[in-house]
């Protein structure tokens, strides 16, 4: 087997197995870490409107407008096996027609090396807060939570919820003015 082909083959096989072994060690070294950390969310403006949802049913649905503050520091979550964090703020609530509702209002990608200190004031939702029906007006208990999805270099893709959430109520009347 002392040919160019034989040696190339042996080298390629060895390189591949070393790479695979190293990748597996990288995965093992971070698989049991706890990625939870506190975050503070507060709502500023909360109103609800009743207008036709042309993106879905054309019927009049409840549309919430929420602006909120968000403060957290995720710098320490980055280790050698975290390529990216995908942050998202979810509104979670229960209505008569649906036992469980989740609407993502805002998201942000933080790549490794970027600033991971979040201190945002009065941010507007990135996505529309449409309810599936008319369940938002006068709703007493909508919970906002920050979560993040960890994208590793190689390994698991956990979704982690921040410690701490914020509950708020929608006003009992629809707003007719422009928001």
């Amino acid at each position: 087997m002392h040919s160019v082909f034989g040696r190339g083959n042996a080298m390629a096989a060895y390189t591949l197995s070393v790479l695979a072994g190293l990748t597996f060690c990288c995965f093992l070294s971070t698989v049991f870490l706890d990625y939870r950390t506190p975050a503070v969310i507060n709502t500023r403006q909360v109103v609800v409107k009743s207008i036709p949802d042309y993106s879905a049913s054309r019927e009049k649905n409840d549309l919430g407008y929420v602006t909120f503050d968000l403060k957290t520091d995720l710098t320490h979550l980055f280790n050698w096996n975290v390529k990216q964090l995908f942050l998202y703020v979810t509104a979670e609530y229960q209505t008569q027609s649906n036992q469980f509702n989740q609407v993502v209002l805002w998201d942000k990608i933080i790549l490794r090396g970027e600033n991971a200190v979040i201190d945002l004031k009065n941010i507007h939702a990135k996505y529309y807060f449409w309810d599936d029906g008319n369940g938002l007006r006068g709703h007493k208990n909508v919970t906002l939570t920050l979560s993040w999805n960890i994208i590793p270099n190689a390994g698991l893709l956990p979704n982690v919820g921040a410690i701490g959430s914020h509950s708020f109520a929608f006003p009992p009347e629809y707003t007719t003015s422009k928001v």
Binding site: K83, S97, Q102, Y127, S147, L157
Partner: protein, 176 residues
């Protein structure tokens, strides 16, 4: 080549043995795949990312490991792999909105991290929501680059046949 000389010197019994070991390789690969299907509950436990719609998290050629346990509910923020009627290739996107009724029926809307709008334009005409039966699996594990080989194979069919023939020849001719 030495290998070919080796092959010519084989007797019938040895040839049969080579063919059998080739069959073993093929059937154990099939067993691993089917076994993974049982364990994960997904019809396709490993998928290759084919588009850039989830960049920078997933690039073309990255490998995703899926599970699809029915007891494990789908939640906003999950990365789901789903099939839409009229499209053969499954799509890997993130759940943006989700509504679940008390009887367990769930409808949800997805969006790619790198796309500006949600996926209603990708669904079948008139379809507004995805349901459980569209889901192939949920991404649980990630391995970069490994799927590039299959992408090259699909892009260049000649390369695929070359690799397959070379592997088959190697297994059949190579003597322990």
């Amino acid at each position: 080549m030495d290998a070919w000389d080796d092959f010519k010197r084989m007797n019938k019994r040895q040839m049969l043995y080579q063919a059998l070991s080739f069959g073993m390789i093929v059937s154990s690969a099939l067993m691993i795949w089917k076994g993974l299907m049982v364990v994960t509950g997904s019809e396709s436990p490993i998928v290759v990312v084919l588009s850039g719609s989830m960049e920078p998290a997933f690039q073309r050629g990255d490998l995703l490991f899926l599970t699809n346990n029915q007891e494990d509910p789908i939640r906003a923020g999950d990365i789901v792999v789903f099939k839409v009627e009229g499209r053969e290739i499954p799509i890997v996107h993130r759940v943006l909105k989700l509504h679940e009724k008390s009887n367990g029926t769930v409808k949800f809307l997805t969006k790619g991290d790198n796309n500006n709008v949600d996926d209603r334009g990708l669904y079948a005409p008139g379809q507004l929501w995805l349901q459980k039966n569209h889901v192939v699996g949920r991404a649980r594990g990630f391995l970069p680059y490994v799927g590039l080989v299959t992408i090259y194979m699909n892009d260049y069919p000649h390369f695929k046949y070359l690799v397959l023939v070379a592997l088959a020849l190697y297994v059949l001719i190579h003597r322990e």
